[in-house]
Chain length 210, copies 2
Amino acid sequence: MVGTVTYRSVKSTDTGRTPDEIVLTPAARRILDVASALFYAHGITAVGVDTIAAESGVTKRTLYDRFGSKDALVASCLAERNRLWWARLEARLAELDGERVLATFDCYLDTRDIGRGCAFLNAAAELPREHPAHALARGHKRAVRERIGELLALDHPDLEGRDDLAEHLFLLLEGAVSQRGLDDDDRRMRTARDLAASLLPSGRPASTQG
Amino acid sequence: MVGTVTYRSVKSTDTGRTPDEIVLTPAARRILDVASALFYAHGITAVGVDTIAAESGVTKRTLYDRFGSKDALVASCLAERNRLWWARLEARLAELDGERVLATFDCYLDTRDIGRGCAFLNAAAELPREHPAHALARGHKRAVRERIGELLALDHPDLEGRDDLAEHLFLLLEGAVSQRGLDDDDRRMRTARDLAASLLPSGRPASTQG
DNA sequence: ACCATGCTATACAGATCTGTGAAGTCGGGG
DNA sequence: CCCCGACTTCACAGATCTGTATAGCATGGT
């Protein structure tokens, strides 16, 4: 397609905040996207590699040549989701000035389709701790927690009890995130955002989004 | 064992707060306990009925005679967990006077083995919305949210903005609950409890458990 | 011209999945 | 005495699971 492209297969399980973009073969790209959607929609264990290959318009041989195993594919899917998640947050943060912590809430709110809640929580819920994807999920949430701390530090450098507040905000966020998968609507997430806003120094109780 | 026992098989999917105790045949009891533990430990889809039957010292025939299908067994397991959860909370509440909302946090804190986090969240994360167990998980969380509201109303009848506070506490609780499955320790749950305590009218910032 | 790479096609191994069918054992209650 | 209910044993159906083996086609870089 672009002539002279050196493809790299996906092997790394990066948990960090700004993972490198990974160049995939066209088939691998399709497999990754299809698998990601299917895993999210039906659960990881419930979806077989035959289905993924078929839906991707690819043979099973190709799938295994590119990803090595189903477990590795699962990990790649979550790593890709992680990449996209951070890209979206950081993009939103870039065009924002005050009170940036709330962007983490808004990030979830502007997703049209709630679907089945948080893919990272779902994966961790289903998979054993030893599974590489479980580590990715843990890393993702840890990074989110850390970023909240950083954003709070940036916006309120001299705030007393800032660490407690960061943890508080994280708990509100994750409470809303985890329940959103059950509720199938955004009311709780909006409430959480409002509650979070009311905790901030500048904060009046309400004011939904910008 | 007790002579003349009329066994009832488990069919109902009660989501309520105080479900009836259900009388099971000895084999059914064993199946339910074993299945519950295995589903929790390894995930629902990942555990087959053959394994459950074998571990219960029971034939697959018996399993299907008692529960009808794997899906029904899954639902029964979650219903039983729901029953036990409420029994534990209400027992704790009975021997308590002031600030009863915090008992919901303590309920999680006195569980020795964290294991894989919240069985209800895990089940909902793995199963499709249509699955009967998914409805049970939703019902469970909804009931918890309601109970928090009730307890807050009992302890602070004249509090202003009580509904917001109830939601706030619920979000803190669920944030901690969902993360506990990833963290594999109770620090976050304790922090959540402290933060919750600090939000209460009586509340000074700290004071861990009684 | 040669060869590596990306991908296809097909077939298969071997295990495991949910669920059923048929026949039989054992104990207690009417 | 007879029957019901709980449970066993064993076999099987039919699908689906992850993963591999063998063989071949097409393209593009060197």
